[in-house]
């Protein structure tokens, strides 16, 4: 069985004594011109190319060369940069997006190592379509596909489909309901990925059979929200199960471009979804204290859910570093905030500082036991380039991480290729 090819670091984290750990995992979150609303105005951004293949290919190649384990692509089913239930009415911010799963597919053939993790809605999109879409992304990227299922609570998005309505006021009960449905959607997608056994294609000329249909399986999912029969039309993808990443926000502000899970003071519902459904959970601690609280919460919920499979935990951070021309981060942040007319806010902590300060922060948080980070650059490609030039090499120098070797995204994350849940039991040693 293929297992991880990653070097295991021996770490002394100061609290748990010597223990074996994976190298620090680093993802880069791509969205438009970056996570600051005024990012598109920066001279390093080709602002009229944000909807072109060239923009995405360029960013993906930079991230691939820098050695990130994965990149994520944001998406939604409506215009961004709005309060979550209304339209902004502004002309000075980026509006519009390309379909994230298709952007991921477009960049797959022109990148080599980096995992590709598009976000998609599971509230309005059919699980059957999602399953074959991500499976195919895994084929075209040769095993580098990931997927971030997200819920779509906005009334505006629901109105684009006309099949259900969403309340303007989002209650905790409604969030739980959406996340329960998301859990069912991920379950269906995962079953469909397994609905073909790896060796289902036999091409047996003697009997004229292309497949052994006993190695294809109906998934027969019947839940509160929908039923899906299966099997998939797409064979089991190279990773068996592409990597599922869930973003468990601690809290969300409507102005954040990533604000796809609504404000909730209690992140337990999102964490419960993540521990049931995901391979990687991204958390959004505001500080080191919250980081430890959230790590504990993830551990508790994992235990409560009876989870035994490994779950990687990464912390999201918005990074706004010193500018390409040496402009100090604080000044750069103030200048960008002034350009937009409002301060940068985010559901995730904002790290505005030098590359060295960020490196120290990552080192310190890593010491608390988080497996890695998903970094959201304020400006693309500027902050991505600074990360590549100054942060990743320094983390490697400190022995905290190495660039991923060629391989699948599961390999990069130290996750073994899973057995197929439907695998036929075969009497070993008995010749057919």
């Amino acid at each position: 069985m293929p297992t991880t090819g990653r070097v295991v670091c021996r770490m002394d984290d100061g609290t748990h004594g010597q223990r074996q750990r994976l190298p620090m995992l680093l993802g880069i979150a791509l969205d438009g011109a970056g996570w600051h609303a005024a990012a598109w105005r920066e001279p390093g951004v080709v602002a009229d190319r944000l909807f072109s293949a060239g923009h995405w290919v360029d960013l993906a190649r930079r991230a691939d060369a820098a050695g990130f384990e994965f990149l994520t692509l944001e998406d939604g089913l409506g215009l961004q940069a709005q309060p979550w239930n209304a339209v902004a009415g502004r002309t000075d911010r980026v509006a519009g997006r390309l379909d994230a799963a298709l952007v991921a597919a477009r960049i797959a053939p022109v990148t080599s190592r980096i995992g590709l993790v598009p976000a998609t809605s599971v509230t309005h999109t059919e699980p059957f379509h999602l399953s074959k879409s991500i499976a195919t992304l895994d084929f075209v990227s040769r095993g580098r596909a990931g997927w971030r299922p997200q819920v779509s609570p906005r009334p505006a998005e629901a109105a684009h489909f006309g099949r259900r309505t969403m309340a303007a006021e989002l209650t905790d009960a409604a969030v739980t309901e959406l996340l329960d449905e998301a859990g069912d959607a991920v379950e269906v997608v995962r079953r469909l990925w397994d609905s073909w056994e790896d060796d289902a294609e036999i091409r047996d000329v003697a009997t004229g059979r292309f497949i052994d249909r006993d190695r294809l399986h109906c998934v027969d999912f019947e839940g509160r929200f929908f039923s899906v029969r299966g099997p998939s039309i797409t064979p089991r993808p190279p990773q068996g199960q592409p990597v599922v990443l869930a973003l468990a926000h601690a809290r969300v502000d409507g102005r954040s471009p990533s604000s796809l899970v609504p404000r909730s003071d209690d992140s337990s519902a999102a964490v419960r979804f993540a521990v049931r459904s995901a391979d990687v959970v991204a958390i959004t601690p505001a500080d080191a204290v919250q980081l430890r609280e959230l790590l504990d919460l993830v551990a508790q919920e994992s235990a409560a859910a009876g989870r035994t499979a490994p779950l990687r935990v990464v912390a999201d951070l918005v990074v706004l570093l010193d500018g390409p021309d040496g402009e100090p981060a604080a000044e750069r942040r103030a200048r960008l905030d002034a350009a937009d007319g409002s301060p940068l806010v985010s559901d995730a902590a904002i790290m505005a500082g030098s590359a060295a300060e960020l490196t120290d922060r990552l080192t310190q948080w890593w010491g608390s036991g988080v497996d890695g980070f998903r970094l959201r650059p304020a400006v693309l490609p500027d902050d991505l380039d600074t990360l590549a030039r100054s942060v990743l090499p320094e983390l490697a120098r400190r022995g905290l991480r190495t660039d991923p070797a060629p391989g699948t995204l599961r390999d990069h994350l130290g996750l073994a290729r899973p057995e197929n849940r439907y695998r036929s039991t075969v009497d070993e040693g008995v010749p057919a």
Partner: protein, 458 residues
């Protein structure tokens, strides 16, 4: 502008073959039907021959016979949008046509997927609009088989209208991206739309700026009266079945007449039959090759299955190397096969069975041979010169505007055509040697789209 051409140009395209018995998976030269390398090779061969586009079919449930998954043909295929977006990264000019169902999708998603694909391919996307209603496929989707058969073209028409409204909702210059002035959008809240009809009640803002082609090139693939009207009203091209020259002329004339009725120019829709081929040095060798392929396409087990589809009966006890069934087909809705468009198309089972029996008697064919000879879809057979002549004759006499070639082998099956017939067509000045344009609309010689101006009012 392009040079004026003396002769009607032949439009050529390539269909990645798959889920039916045209595809010979048992041949040693047959490669993977799912690995991306196969799609890359196939697309690059077609692009090197300067084809207009690559074509992918779709099926949203694995086909069954006698309630079990049909296992004799290729089974399994990738997601259409995803593989086309990936192919955009390894090709430069060739059009990318995807078959997408209007029943088991929603307009907002399909519009943003095609608009995205069009951006990501710099204007090479096309949509083959298909429609279905069957509860069998519906079992894979939230809503199930919710649509009546009589509503499927209504749904398809309104779905296409809705997608058109959505992709037209962003004016051409909505994105200003003026960094100095701090103005990204020409106007706030772009993409506003409202659609309210018998199928859709949706409103809000579309979220993909206008793409290079404005909208995908539209293909239609149904043969019925309703399907032809749908094509004449809304499509840019028709994916049709190949037949005799006369049948092609009649079909094309019918489409041209319908176009006139819908107030569109007579050449506004390209008629493109899907066509298999067998090419060898001489005509005699090509016919021998074709006969060999026919037998490869109909294994003994396949012969029984295809006969069952026509007879609509269990024929599993029959010897494929023996005589045809001595009973008549059971006429009516198929109880044998599910998820197969070809079965629904057979409307004259008794007559077809009679023709098969007569042919078997005349030639002394057994069941397998009869199925292979009578059920085959081979059309362009001959030496390169013969095939080039055939193609020119069909196009010159307006039996069609070109061909969508369906090789029987993946991934290298186009080569026999692209290396021998294409150079002849190029020499004769009826097929391009270089792409003149960058978009698929340009490759197909379609008129530029009208500027969007609220085509539809709520």
């Amino acid at each position: 502008m392009t040079q004026p051409r003396p002769r009607k140009q032949v439009h050529l395209a390539a269909h990645f073959p798959g889920v039916n018995n045209t595809t010979v998976w048992s041949d040693p030269a047959s490669g993977s039907q799912i690995e991306f390398d196969s799609f890359v090779r196939f697309a690059q061969d077609a692009e090197a021959a300067r084809f207009d586009f690559l074509f992918l079919a779709e099926g949203l449930r694995l086909r069954e016979q006698h309630g079990r998954i049909y296992d004799l043909d290729v089974v399994g295929r990738p997601d259409t949008f995803t593989v086309l977006a990936a192919l955009a990264g390894v090709t430069e000019r060739i059009g990318l046509t995807g078959t997408i169902n209007s029943t088991f999708n929603e307009p907002y998603e399909v519009a943003r997927q095609f608009a995205s694909l069009d951006h990501l391919s710099d204007g090479r996307s096309a949509w083959n609009v298909v429609t279905s209603w069957d509860a069998f496929t519906g079992e894979n989707f939230r809503r199930g088989g919710y649509l009546g058969q009589d509503q499927r073209y209504e749904r398809a028409r309104l779905f296409l209208d809705a997608v058109t409204t959505l992709v037209d909702s962003w004016p051409e210059h909505a994105v200003v991206a003026d960094q100095a002035a701090g103005r990204f959008l020409a106007e706030a809240d772009p993409g506003r739309f409202t659609i309210s009809d018998s199928q859709f009640d949706i409103a809000g803002h579309f979220d993909v700026p206008r793409s290079p082609q404005g909208r995908p090139v539209i293909f239609q693939a149904g043969d019925s009266d309703a399907g032809r009207d749908f094509a004449a009203a809304s499509a840019d091209a028709i994916f049709t079945r190949h037949g005799t020259l006369e049948a092609g002329q009649a079909f094309t004339a019918d489409i041209r007449a319908r176009l006139t009725r819908f107030g569109r120019p007579r050449d506004a829709v390209k008629v493109l039959p899907a066509t298999t081929f067998a090419i060898a040095d001489t005509d005699a060798e090509a016919h021998e090759l074709a006969a060999g392929i026919r037998l490869q396409q109909v294994s003994p087990a396949t012969a029984i299955m295809l006969a069952e589809q026509l007879w609509n009966r269990d024929l599993s006890d029959l010897d494929p190397e023996g005589p045809l069934p001595d009973v008549d087909p059971i006429v009516g809705e198929s109880t044998v096969a599910q998820g197969r468009a070809s079965v629904r198309m057979v409307t004259d089972q008794l007559e077809t069975a009679q023709r098969w029996r007569a042919a078997a008697a005349e030639h002394g064919w057994n069941l397998r041979r009869t199925v292979a000879e009578m059920g085959n879809r081979q059309h362009l057979i001959g030496s390169p010169a013969t095939v080039a002549d055939l193609i020119e004759r069909y196009v010159d006499s307006d039996a069609c505007d070109g061909f969508i070639l369906v090789p029987h082998l993946v991934p290298g099956g186009l080569q026999a055509f692209t290396e021998t017939v294409v150079p002849l067509l190029q020499e004769r000045g009826v097929h391009r040697t270089e792409y003149e344009g960058t978009t698929l609309r340009e490759h197909l010689g379609l008129a530029p789209l009208q500027r969007p101006a609220g085509r539809r009012t709520a």
